[in-house]
């Protein structure tokens, strides 16, 4: 350590560690836009209700939506989506705690995306509030889903995610009477990271608020396709 004798060489690199993922994300975006698909990246902790939200969306959008499911293991979630009426492709990460743009690129190669009716691709990320936040998948809309049993203090505990979401969904609103979750606090703290965030309070189980949210997504892809 103290030998400053000779040939020490410093090599400047200055490269973002996410650059490879970001290149795949750009390619995905090109493929998806080329097929007229509007893409969602749905991120939450495990058990917040991502798949239940997607089942509810499947009933609203039907054959207009396809879904990529990300899980550590099992095709269970893809089967739930198929039963609800949409094409689903399951990515089993085998341990990885997030989806990356390369995995999504690979999934796109396996899916039937040629239907004229298809205009929406929803990607359900692996349940995790930290790791997925740094990985752009090529989405048009990033959605952070928070369920009320998790507590109203979660937003500022996970700023790397909630500072990047276009939409905050607060789910399981049917449980609010039994909990101390302060909805206004969660919204205010999310706006403190992200003043432009759109907020929806829903219960995917009862359907409360889902039509309003689906209408918002629909206006996004209708605007996209002109």
């Amino acid at each position: 350590m103290c030998e400053e004798t000779s040939a020490k060489q410093k090599v400047e690199i200055s490269e973002s560690v996410m650059s490879k993922n970001d290149r795949f994300a750009a390619e995905n975006r090109k493929i998806l836009r080329g097929r007229g698909l509007y893409t969602l990246n749905l991120i939450s902790s495990p058990g917040a209700g991502k798949t239940t939200v997607l089942e509810s969306m499947a009933r609203y959008f039907g054959g207009r939506m396809a879904v990529i499911e990300g899980d550590i293991q099992t095709r269970r979630d893809a089967e739930r989506i198929e039963r609800a009426g949409c094409q689903a492709w399951q990515i089993e990460t085998g341990g990885a705690c997030h989806l990356d743009a390369h995995a999504v690129n690979h999934a796109l190669g396996h899916m039937d995306l040629d239907s004229d009716e298809l205009s929406l691709l929803a990607i359900e990320n692996v349940g995790n509030l930290i790791c997925p936040s740094g990985y752009d998948l090529g989405e048009d809309m990033r959605i952070g889903l928070l369920s009320v049993p998790e507590g109203d203090d979660k937003v500022l505990k996970y700023p790397s995610l909630f500072s990047t979401v276009d939409v905050l969904i607060i789910n399981k609103m049917d449980l609010i009477p039994h909990l101390d979750f302060d909805v206004d606090r969660a919204i205010e703290e999310c706006r403190s990271l992200n003043p432009d965030v759109n907020v929806f309070t829903v219960s995917a189980r009862t359907g409360e608020g889902m039509e309003e949210f689906c209408g918002f997504v629909e206006s996004g892809f209708l605007r996209n396709t002109g």
């Binding site: 060489q9 400047e12 740094g134 500022l156 790397s160 500072s163 403190s192």
Partner: protein, 115 residues
């Protein structure tokens, strides 16, 4: 635990930049508070991966940046690593994030004698 795959990305980037594998003395990186990375976990993973990938046992030097924010109430620009802190001028948490997501490999130092 995505730090393991990030550590592998780091060695790939270093290998591509150098065009070869060489025992490194030091690796300098920058991490922002919104990168979602645990520095200690990354340090642990990188130490293992660097050794396995033929880059020796470099010291990982982490430059922790703060996030730069713009207060939307009084337009003060300020820096924080902890998002519970409001604006130092007016206390508001109404703000826009200007930076803080950095995660870069900045440079590496090689001791040619040790090769």
């Amino acid at each position: 635990m995505h730090e393991m795959s990030l550590a592998m990305d780091m060695t790939r980037i270093i290998g591509e930049a150098l065009g070869r594998k060489a025992p490194l003395e030091r690796v300098n990186i920058t991490i922002g508070p919104l990168s979602g990375i645990s520095a200690e976990s990354l340090r642990f993973c990188f130490t293992e991966i660097a050794r396995m990938e033929g880059f020796g046992e470099p010291e990982l030097v982490i430059n922790h940046t703060e996030a730069r924010l713009l207060c939307l109430e009084c337009r003060t620009e300020y820096e924080v690593a902890d998002f519970y802190q409001g604006c130092p001028e007016c206390g508001s948490i109404s703000r826009r994030i200007l930076s803080g997501r950095e995660f870069t490999v900045d440079s590496v130092e090689i001791d040619e004698d040790s090769e």
